[in-house]
Symmetry: C2
């Protein structure tokens, strides 16, 4: 495998020296879902790296052959044994510094039932005032929950879009648009 | 390279037999933009496979380290030497049968200026009644343009979401939601 610019391309790619196959590396999609039950939000405490021990709503890499909402529903099942009612698209965030696109949904937790999956140390339902804001796993989780509670307070959920990236001084920046 | 289920996973992956690196394959994002100028829409006639010779709005694979809107703007530049004014998120479509997610924007073509890039045989501005509907490259292009003209007629652009997939009898199906 070597790194070179294939003919007709403009970006260096991983190219196999024996068969000339180009192994493109593209942004990965993370699909997740903010689940609500009786005014409380389902969060999972991560049992895996990165951010072992910190909290997130269920989310993970979208797989081939599924849709974004199917991926979000699957993650709720895998990480929290949770079923989703009425999943709605809620936010699309670009994380260019780690080449991810986050597609967030919101929905209702079916029957209030959830329990930790293999990748979760524990799961819990949090009222807004009890959200562990300083113990969230990623800036995009913080951003998603903040948007969610703001929309909920206004009684009107809309579709959000933005970028989260690191500025040259390594600080996390958020652009909403 | 062999195909097997890594420990803790549930899906067969491409795993390197010598270094155990797992080569995940995930859905790719295609970013595109419907550009308007004086009531007409910019389309490009493809100079590459698949669908050589058929028409599409500028669109292509999102690259690492860019945002979706940056990718859409770059594709407009590469395929049609076109600059974009005021790009707005317009539609998110899942194409699970080919493991793609299409993120469509809409915007204004700056100064009405465009010319064919390396991947386009020609480019043209089409009024709605002149769109080559039977010569469009992909179902998602048809869908995007249809939604666009419907929104434009109603004087209100909204955010659309849906799936385009092949049913077991190989027919293309579209779900809007």
């Amino acid at each position: 495998m070597s790194i070179r610019v294939p003919e007709g391309d403009r970006i260096p790619r991983h190219v196999c020296d024996s068969c000339n196959t180009i192994h493109y590396q593209n942004p990965k999609i993370v699909a997740g879902c903010i689940l609500e039950w009786e005014n409380r939000i389902l969060l999972c405490r991560r049992a895996i790296e990165p951010r072992y021990g910190l909290w997130t709503f269920p989310a993970g890499f979208m797989e081939n052959s599924e849709t974004a909402v199917q991926a979000a529903i699957r993650e709720c099942s895998e990480e929290a044994n949770a079923d989703v009612v009425n999943a709605q698209l809620f936010a699309l965030y670009n994380l260019p510094h780690i080449s991810q696109v986050y597609i967030m949904f919101r929905g209702r937790l079916k029957a209030g039932r959830a329990s930790p999956g293999a990748e979760s140390l524990e799961i819990a339902l949090f009222a807004e005032q009890d959200i562990p804001w300083t113990q969230l796993a990623f800036p995009v989780v913080y951003e998603g929950l903040e948007l969610y509670f703001r929309d909920r307070e206004q009684g009107n959920y809309s579709m959000h879009m933005g970028d989260i990236f690191r500025s040259p001084d390594r600080k996390i920046q958020i652009n909403r648009y």
